[in-house]
Amino acid sequence: MAPREALSTVLDGELVGHDGLVDRRVLCDEDLYRRELESVFERSWLFLAHESQIPNAGDFFATTMADDPVLVVRQKDGSVAAMLNSCRHRGMRVCRADVGNAKAFTCTFHGWTYDASGQLVNVPKYDEGYHGELDKSKWGLVRVPRVESYKGLIFGTWDEDAPTFVDYLGEEMCWYLDSLVDRREGGTEVIGGVHRWVIDCNWKLGAEGFIGDMYHSEMTHASVGLGALPDKGWQYGAPRGHGTGFFIDGLEYWNGAYGDEVVRYYEEIAPEITNRLGAAAADLVSACAHGGVFPNFAYLTGAAMTIRVWQPRGVDRMEVFSWVLVDRAAPPEIKEASRRGMTRAFSASGTLEQDDGENWSEIQRVMRGSVARKHPINYQMGFGHERDDVPGLPGTVGYVNGDLPGRGFYRYWAELMRQGPLKRANGDGSG
C-alpha cells in the first residue's frame, strides 16, 4: 500500500473482486485491520463460550470479542451475561483469571465492585469522595447488549440492531450447523479446558480456511498419512459469509484417524442423525466436515468435533481458543477417544494443526515487503459451477474442493467494510 493512501481510496477499489481475486492487503494492512475491528467485529455475532463451560451461577469465562476483553458469566437466573472486562472508573481489567467462579468482581485499582451481572454495587469513599453524587446505575460494566445461545453455543454482538442469531445464520446455515450441535438428543458439551495458542498470521487465514478450504487437506496434511481423501463432497457458502464443506462416503477414512470405536459409534448414531436432520446430514457427519460462522467461529464435525475462535491480536497475529466438543449422550469411552484424538490432531501440538499454522504464518511473513502484497490471491476454484439442486442440501453448493465459501466470506467482509463502523453514541456515561 502506498504510504498514507487514503483508506477511502482503498475501499473504493476492488479489494475483493467479482472475478474471484482478493487483494492481499486485506491480510496485512494495518489501517484495514483497525477498521475491521469496528466494521466487521463490532457488527457481527461473535462466539463467547459453550454453555457447558459455565454451568453454575457465578461461573465465569474470560474471553475476548476480537481483541476486547469480555467476561461471560452465568447469572443466578440461569441466563448468561457478557460484559466488557474493564472497570468503568479508570479502565482496569476487573478480572484477571481465565476461568472461575465469583460472586462479584472487585477492581484492584480503587476497589469499585460489580456484581455478577455487571452492576456497580460498591464504590469506596462514595460519600466522602463522591458526595453521593455518582449515579451507580449508570456506571456498571459495559454489557454486551445482545447475547444469544444456539443449542449450547453462546454468541454475543455489540450491535443492538443486529438480526437475531438465527436470522444472522440463515435457515440454510442453521441446518449445516445442526450437524455439529444437534445431531443427538441432549446436544453437546465441551471437554474441560481450552487449548490456546498464537499463530503469527491474520485471523482471516484461519477463518476462511475453516469456512471454505478442504482443498488444502491432501497436501498440507500429507505427513499424517491420510492417503487419498474421498473424492465426493460438497461445500456451501451463506450470504453472510458463513460456510462449510464436507466429504460424503468417507467413513472408512476415520479408522485411521480415531480407530474402530469411533466408526462403530458413528454407525450406531447414524439412524438418530437421519431421524433428526435427514439422511443428508448423516452423510455429512459420516466424514469430516469443516465449517465456520462469520467472522471467526469455526468447527469440525464428524466422528470427532472441535469448536474454536480465531481471536485477532493485531493485523499479523491471532490467538486460537479451541475446545473439544462431544455429544452429551455419547458413552464415556467415545468422549475420551474424542478428547485424545482431537488433542493429538488439532491442538497446538496437533499433528494436523501444526502444518496449517506453518502455511498461514509463512503467507503472512511473505507480505512484509511491497511487491508480494500487490499480487492478489486466487479464489476462482469452481467459479460459475455453483448448483442449488443437490438433494437434501439446502442452498447453493459446489464441489467440496472449491472456493465458493471463500468468495462468500470475502464478499460479505468487503460489504461490511464499505458500510463502516456502527453509529453509536460515544463517551456517554450510560454504558
Binding site: 481450552v194 487449548h195 505427513s223 498419512g225 501444526q354
Partner: protein, 182 residues
C-alpha cells in the same frame, strides 16, 4: 496445592538417590536431550518403555483461591498425552518429509538443569528437573519455553534406564505451535 504441583513435588517424600545415581541419571537426561536436538528420533524412542505415559497438561490463570485448579487434571485437555504409539506417530510424521512445520526443521537446544533423583517404591527412580527449550527456525525467530519435568525411570535399555512416565509442567498457558518434543 494444585494437583500438578503436588505431582511434581511428590518425590520429596521418597528416599533421595546418592550422588552416583544422580550423576548417572543426569547423563541419561543429557543423552536424551542430545539425541532429540540432533533429530535422532530412533535413539530417542528407544529411551522409553513400551508403556510410556507422556503428558503435558494445559494450565490456566486462576483466582487466588482457585490456584489448586491452575493446572488441568487428567480428563481435561492436555498439550501432550501420548503412549508409545503416539510418540512414534509424531516421529514418523516428522520423518515423512511432509511435516511442513518442521521442514526445514527447528534448531532446538534442550537445557536440562536442577536434576533431583529419588528412589521410587520399586526399583524405579523418580526424577525432577527444570528445562529450557530454545528453538530457532527459518529466519531470526526464537522461542524459549521453560518448565519442569517429572520422570519415572526404570532399569533397562543400553543406557541403563528407560523412561516409563514423563509429566511435563510447561510454564505457559498460551503457547506457540508445539511441533517439537520436550
Amino acid at each position: 496445592m494444585a494437583q500438578a504441583e503436588a505431582d511434581t513435588a511428590a518425590g520429596t517424600r521418597l528416599r533421595p538417590a546418592d550422588a552416583a545415581l544422580h550423576h548417572e541419571v543426569g547423563l541419561f537426561l543429557y543423552h536424551e536431550a542430545a539425541v532429540l536436538d540432533a533429530h535422532e528420533y530412533d535413539e530417542w524412542l528407544a529411551l522409553f518403555t513400551p508403556d510410556i505415559d507422556y503428558r503435558m497438561p494445559t494450565r490456566y490463570n486462576r483466582l487466588a483461591r482457585e490456584q489448586g485448579q491452575a493446572t488441568a487434571s487428567e480428563g481435561d485437555l492436555a498439550h501432550f498425552e501420548d503412549d508409545l504409539a503416539g510418540l512414534r506417530e509424531r516421529v514418523d510424521r516428522i520423518r515423512s518429509g511432509f511435516a511442513w512445520a518442521e521442514a526445514p526443521p527447528s534448531r532446538t537446544r534442550h537445557l536440562v538443569t536442577n536434576v533431583r533423583v529419588w528412589h521410587g517404591t520399586d526399583d524405579s527412580l523418580e526424577v525432577e528437573s527444570h528445562f529450557l527449550l530454545y528453538r530457532t527456525r527459518i529466519e531470526v525467530d526464537v522461542e524459549v519455553l521453560a518448565g519442569a519435568r517429572h520422570d519415572t525411570l526404570v532399569p533397562g535399555g543400553p543406557h541403563g534406564w528407560l523412561i516409563r512416565r514423563r509429566y511435563i509442567l510447561l510454564d505457559q498457558t498460551t503457547t506457540v505451535n508445539l511441533s517439537v518434543m520436550l
